[in-house]
C-alpha cells in the first residue's frame, strides 16, 4: 500500500515532464497535421543547449527558458524550411513521417559529433525533499509539476479565450476556410510551431533535470511516451495531453513497482498501440482535430 501511494507520487512527477513535452507535440500535430518525429531530437537539442548554458553558470530555470526560445525558433525554421514546403507539394503522410524520422536521426548524430556520446549532467538539482500524503517529491519535481500545470492552464486560456487562440483553432480545423475569413494562417502556424517548440525545448531541459544524467538519446527515448500521452489525451487538447502524461507516468511507475522493472517502458508502448487501434481520437478528442485521424 505504501509502495502504491509512493509509486503514484513518482508517476505524477515523471508524468508532469511527459505532459510538458506531450502538450507541445499535441499542439504542433493538431495545428500542422504532421506527425513530427524530429520533436524527440529537438528535445535533445534543448537539453544540450541547457547544458551549454548551465556549464557557463546560468541557473537551470533560466536555461530552461532560453533553451525553450531557441528550440522554438528552430522548430519554426524546421517547419518553414522543410515540412511546410513538402506539405504544400502534396507529399504523402508516410513520406513526411520518414522525413521527420530522418531529420531526427541527422540532428541526433550531429549532436553526437559535437558533444560526444558520453553521459552528461547538470549536476544534482533536486534539492529538498517534500512528503505529501505519503508521496515523496523533490523540490525540482514539485517545480516541474507546478510549471507544467501553469503552462497547461496558460495554453488552455490562450486557445479558448483569446482571438489568437480562436484563430489557431480555426486554422487547425480548416486552413482554407480560415484563410478566406481573413486569418493570416502562415503567421498563425508560425506561432503554433514557436509555442510547441518552446514547450519542446523546456521539456528537454526539464527531462535532463529529472533524469539527472542524460546522453544524446534522451529525446528519442522519451518521444514514444510523449506521443502516447498526446494520443491518449486527444490530439490538440492541452488538458488531454496533461492527463495523458499523468496516466502514462503513473502507469509506468506502477509497472516498475509491481512487475519486472525492465518492462516499465512497455506500458507506454502498450497504451499507444491500444489507443491507436481502439480509440485513435483519444479520450478527450476535440472535434476539430479528430476527423483526420482516419485515413
Amino acid at each position: 500500500m505504501q509502495l502504491l501511494i509512493e509509486a503514484i507520487g513518482f508517476g505524477i512527477a515523471s508524468g508532469a515532464v511527459i505532459a510538458l513535452g506531450a502538450v507541445g507535440f499535441s499542439v504542433q500535430f493538431g495545428m500542422s497535421n504532421v506527425l513530427n518525429i524530429t520533436y524527440g531530437a529537438l528535445m535533445t537539442l534543448g537539453a544540450y543547449i541547457g547544458l551549454f548554458l548551465i556549464d557557463r553558470g546560468i541557473s537551470p530555470w533560466a536555461a530552461l527558458a532560453i533553451a525553450g526560445v531557441v528550440v522554438g525558433a528552430a522548430s519554426v525554421a524546421f517547419n518553414r524550411g522543410l515540412l511546410a514546403p513538402l506539405v504544400r507539394r502534396g507529399t504523402r503522410a508516410f513520406a513526411i513521417v520518414i522525413v521527420t524520422v530522418s531529420a531526427g536521426v541527422v540532428l541526433q548524430y550531429v549532436i553526437v559529433v559535437f558533444a560526444g556520446p558520453d553521459a552528461k549532467s547538470y549536476g544534482e538539482q533536486s534539492g529538498q525533499t517534500f512528503h505529501l500524503l505519503g508521496m515523496v517529491l523533490t523540490a525540482s519535481e514539485v517545480t516541474i509539476v507546478v510549471l507544467a500545470a501553469a503552462l497547461m492552464l496558460g495554453l488552455h486560456l490562450l486557445l479558448t479565450r483569446t482571438t489568437l487562440g480562436r484563430a489557431m483553432r480555426a486554422t487547425a480545423s480548416n486552413r482554407i476556410l480560415a484563410q478566406s475569413c481573413g486569418i493570416a494562417t502562415d503567421r498563425i502556424s508560425d506561432i503554433a510551431w514557436m509555442l510547441s517548440g518552446m514547450l519542446c525545448g523546456a521539456a528537454g531541459v526539464a527531462l535532463a533535470i529529472t533524469t539527472v544524467s542524460f546522453d544524446f538519446s534522451l529525446g528519442a527515448v522519451f518521444l514514444i511516451p510523449m506521443i502516447a500521452a498526446a494520443v491518449l489525451g486527444g490530439i490538440g487538447q492541452p488538458y488531454g495531453a496533461m492527463v495523458g502524461g499523468l496516466v502514462v507516468g503513473v502507469a509506468s511507475e506502477l509497472a516498475a513497482a509491481f512487475t519486472n522493472p525492465a518492462y516499465r517502458e512497455v506500458v507506454a508502448f502498450g497504451i499507444l498501440i491500444v489507443m491507436l487501434l481502439v480509440r485513435p481520437h483519444g479520450l478527450f478528442g476535440a472535434a476539430w482535430a479528430t476527423r483526420r485521424l482516419m485515413a
Binding site: 506527425l35 520518414i98 541527422v106 525492465a262 485513435p280
Partner: protein, 329 residues
C-alpha cells in the same frame, strides 16, 4: 582464401540478404503503402527461428545459453522455418495497420511494435538469451563436410539462388493483376474497396509475403555470421532499408535493387574507408573523437532520404506506370 576474396564473399552475402529485405519492405511500403517501420522484426524473427532450429537443446549445445526450442534440424528446414517465422511476424505487425488508420499513425504503431519486441527479448533472458544473444557453435554448418573455402562460395550461390526465388515471388506481387490491385489500394483505398477488392485480406497477404522475404534475409545472414543478438536489430536498421527503397525508387523492383547496392554496399562500406582520409583524421583530432565514420554514416543516410524526398521523390528508377501517386499524392 585471400582476405580480399573473403571480404568479397561477405559483401555478396550482405548484398543478397539486404536485397531480400529491401524487396520485402518495398512490397509492403512501396507497392502497398504500408509504412512498416517495424520491418526489422521480421528479419530478427527469421534469424532467431533459424538459430533455435539449427541448435540442439540448450543442454546439449553446452548449456551456456538459454533459449526455447532447440531442434537440431538441417539447414534447409531451418531456413524454411526462418521464412515462416518472418511471415508470421509480418502478419502480426500487419494487424496493427489493419484498421484504416492514417499512414503516419500506422508507421508509428509499427515502430512501437519494433521497440516492444526488442524490450521483451532483452528483458526475458530464458526466451532467446536476452542481450547476449545466441551463438551457433560450431559456426556455419550448412555444408559441414566441405572444405571451408569452397563452402563459402557455395553459400554465396545458395544466397543467390534464394534471391532468384525471392525475386520470382516478388514479381508475382508487383506485376500483373495482383500488382495493379495493390497499387490501386495504395493510391486510393476507398476506390479499391468500392470496386470490390478485399483490402484486409490483400494487406495481410502482402505482409506475409514481405515478412517471408525478411525472414529469409535474417535466416541466411545468421547462418553465415553465426551469431544474433538485439544489437543487430535496433529499430534504426529499418531506416537504412527505407533509404534504399526511397533512393532506388519506391515500387520499382530494379530501382530498389540499385538503391540497396548504393546504400548497403557503396555508402555504408564506403564511409568506413573514410577512416583513412587525412582530413577526417584532422577533424577527429580536433573534436577529440576517435571514430566519426559510423555517426557520419547515419547523417549521410538521413540527409540522402530527405534530399531524395525533396528533389526526386520517384527515386533513381521511377515506378513505371500511369502517374497517379507515389510519394506525392
Amino acid at each position: 582464401m585471400g582476405a580480399w576474396e573473403y571480404y568479397l564473399v561477405v559483401l555478396l552475402v550482405y548484398l543478397g540478404t539486404d536485397l531480400l529485405a529491401a524487396w520485402g519492405l518495398n512490397l509492403e511500403f512501396g507497392v502497398t503503402g504500408v509504412a512498416n517501420l517495424g520491418y526489422i522484426v521480421t528479419i530478427a524473427a527469421g534469424a532467431y527461428a533459424y538459430v533455435i532450429c539449427t541448435l540442439g537443446s540448450p543442454a546439449s549445445a553446452g548449456g551456456f545459453q538459454e533459449y526455447v526450442g532447440g531442434f537440431g534440424l538441417p539447414f534447409p528446414v531451418a531456413l524454411a522455418a526462418g521464412i515462416v517465422a518472418g511471415s508470421v511476424v509480418g502478419v502480426l505487425i500487419g494487424v496493427t495497420g489493419l484498421k484504416r488508420l492514417r499512414q503516419d499513425y500506422q508507421a508509428i504503431a509499427m515502430l512501437v511494435v519494433s521497440l516492444m519486441a526488442a524490450t521483451v527479448v532483452t528483458a526475458d533472458t530464458p526466451f532467446l538469451n536476452g542481450n547476449a544473444g545466441l551463438v551457433i557453435l560450431p559456426q556455419f554448418a550448412p555444408l559441414s563436410d566441405q572444405d571451408p573455402e569452397v563452402q563459402r562460395w557455395v553459400y554465396v550461390g545458395i544466397v543467390a539462388a534464394v534471391c532468384v526465388l525471392g525475386y520470382l515471388v516478388l514479381r508475382r506481387f508487383t506485376t500483373g493483376p495482383i500488382g495493379r490491385t495493390l497499387r490501386a489500394v495504395r493510391d486510393d483505398e476507398y476506390a479499391a474497396a468500392a470496386i470490390g477488392k478485399d483490402i484486409v485480406v490483400l494487406r495481410l497477404v502482402v505482409q506475409a509475403a514481405g515478412g517471408a522475404l525478411g525472414g529469409a534475409s535474417g535466416a541466411l545472414l545468421v547462418a553465415f555470421i553465426g551469431g544474433w543478438s538485439p544489437g543487430a536489430w535496433a529499430y534504426v536498421e529499418t531506416l537504412a532499408l527505407l533509404t534504399a527503397v526511397i533512393v532506388g525508387g519506391m515500387g520499382n523492383d530494379r530501382g530498389v535493387s540499385v538503391g540497396t547496392f548504393l546504400i548497403a554496399i557503396l555508402i555504408l562500406q564506403g564511409v568506413q574507408f573514410l577512416n583513412d582520409v587525412p582530413a577526417l583524421k584532422a577533424i577527429e583530432g580536433l573534436l577529440n573523437r576517435p571514430a566519426l565514420t559510423q555517426d557520419l554514416g547515419w547523417i549521410v543516410l538521413g540527409t540522402l532520404t530527405i534530399l531524395f524526398i525533396w528533389f526526386r521523390p520517384q527515386g533513381i528508377l521511377p515506378e513505371r506506370r500511369p502517374k497517379y501517386g507515389g510519394i506525392r499524392g
